[in-house]
Amino acid sequence: MRAELLKVRSMPTPFWCLAAVIVCALLGFAATWQWGPGQGIEAIEIAVGFPLAIASIVFGVWIFGVEYGQNTLRRTLTADPRRLRLFFAKFAVGLILVMLTTAVIHLIAFPFYDIAADRHGETVPVAGYRDLILASLLSNAVYMVVGASLALVTASMAGGMTVALVFIFIIDSVLSVLPDVGDYSLGIALADLVAGIRGPLGGFGESDFVHTTAQAAAILAVWLLALAGLGWVRFWRSDVK
């Protein structure tokens, strides 16, 4: 895991992901300062929550994709050939950093947005924000796993990025509106869990419950295991060029 953490520290992509999130958060703060926080925590969701979700996908793809993009997988595996260990180390580092970054950015953003909202005689609701953080932790972890898995499936940085974005924003959205099977899409299951945390009228997490929490968790787990499993099979079976 130390090597993976060093890669994160040494490469520009994680830095730029973080920089983009911070810039968005600052822009959101400026907007809140100028025009107010909108309804509830709308401004924070748009300026902090959404960039963090995108950054989680990008970071998830990057954590495996960097080895394909830089053609360094053979070097990594000639230092330690245990592919399963590398697979879990990368997922662990990815999950830890995504969740840590999500929590820290939100916690730093909160007082600033509260001050900005206060200028307009409003406050950021603590309970609502706490729920937003919890929901973000879950959804960003899911996005990171999806991104990482699809980078492995495509064995490519660019391919992983494209497929992950297409999967999350197009394929899964299309799946979710299909009759019968749509309820079992990853997005619907995730939305149910997010709604379970934040309540059914939670802005971006707005959802009428389709499944119980246990059902939604099971559907989500199946999706993630299937995607990660596909990634693992590709990673385990493929020759390293």
Binding site: A3, R74, D80, P81, D239, V240
Partner: protein
């Protein structure tokens, strides 16, 4: 033996990459793996390192079967530079070495990193991004990465690829110095002159099959190709010199103005000068015909090329 191949076979679809490949790398040697482009050198190295699975046969690294129990430990004692330097181009030279050290489980490596950067002549570029390095610098950094942790075996795949002549000389000297650091070296190349200068033994493969194996001197002696000399005499004495040497049963061919190429069972160059002096001919230059290994290589690879077809 630090690395062995026993009957290794590997196919990529319909293409046979390795066919019953067997050879070994003895400890303390600088062993050259020679073969034409596409002969299977890189595939053999990838199989040895566990990057590609063999379809048949087995290989071992430091006595441990590839992919078997203890392989992770064996590979940590092996440094590898496969198909060019595998570097994180957005990271600096030091960062690349630190990442590799962490992957190898090494701690407190800064002194070793500094020493390796000095060895490969990159101390002044230690904190520069690798993306801005020349090919030669990348190859040298790749070698430094391979040498981290003082490996017992260093495997270098075409380490002089893409280097200019000065870079080739630098790389050759670096590789030649590795046994002094206690490392055995397996170096693959299609540059015969480089292998001849760097290695003490050689394995020649063609179409995935081993066609010759042994010390370079032994290989040249066995083939007779090593006993080839270029003799320079006064132009007027060329015919007499040729006749004298032919009389010894040697093959004599004109090789330019006042020059003869002599091959056959020659113990050393003094034998030729002695014979010619006996005839009153004084040799103005006598040199061993350096492309000896090239001749062996061409003979062997052309010969088995036909056998290996299909």
């Amino acid at each position: 033996m630090l690395a062995t191949f026993e009957g290794v076979g590997k196919r990529f679809g319909k293409t046979v990459a390795l066919r019953d490949l067997s050879f070994a790398v003895p400890e303390g040697s600088v062993c050259g793996l020679l073969g034409p482009n596409g002969s299977g050198k890189t595939t053999a190295i990838r199989v040895l390192l566990g990057l590609t699975g063999a379809d048949s046969g087995s290989s071992s690294l430091l006595g441990v079967p590839t992919g078997g129990r203890g392989f992770a430990t064996a590979i940590r004692q092996t440094g590898a530079l496969v198909e060019g330097p595998s570097l994180y181009s957005r990271a600096s030279a030091v960062q690349n070495l630190r990442i590799q050290a962490a992957a190898l489980g090494l701690k407190r490596v800064r002194p070793e990193i500094d020493s390796l950067l000095s060895l490969v002549g990159l101390t002044e570029r230690a904190n520069s991004r690798v993306g801005g390095f020349s090919m030669g610098m990348k190859q040298r950094l790749g070698l430094a990465v391979a040498l981290l942790g003082r490996p017992k075996l260093v495997i270098l795949d075409e380490p002089t690829n893409g280097l200019d002549p000065a870079g080739i000389v630098e790389m050759r000297n670096l590789i030649a110095s590795l046994p002094g650091r206690g490392a055995t070296v397996l170096v693959s190349s299609h540059l015969l002159s480089e292998v001849e200068l760097m290695c003490d033994r050689v394995t020649i493969i063609n179409r995935g099959q081993m066609v010759a194996d042994g010390s370079i001197a032994g290989l040249l002696a066995r083939s007779g190709a090593g006993s080839s000399y270029v003799v320079e005499v006064a132009e007027g004495e060329l015919s007499l010199a040729a006749a004298s040497l032919s009389g010894l049963g040697l093959t004599v061919e004109p090789a330019g103005r006042g020059t003869l190429s002599v091959s056959g069972p020659i113990s050393d160059g003094s034998q030729l000068s002695c014979v010619l002096a006996g005839e009153g001919i004084f040799v103005s230059a006598l040199a061993r015909d350096r492309p000896g290994l090239e001749r062996v290589f061409l003979n062997l690879t052309e010969g088995s090329g036909g056998q290996g077809a299909g």
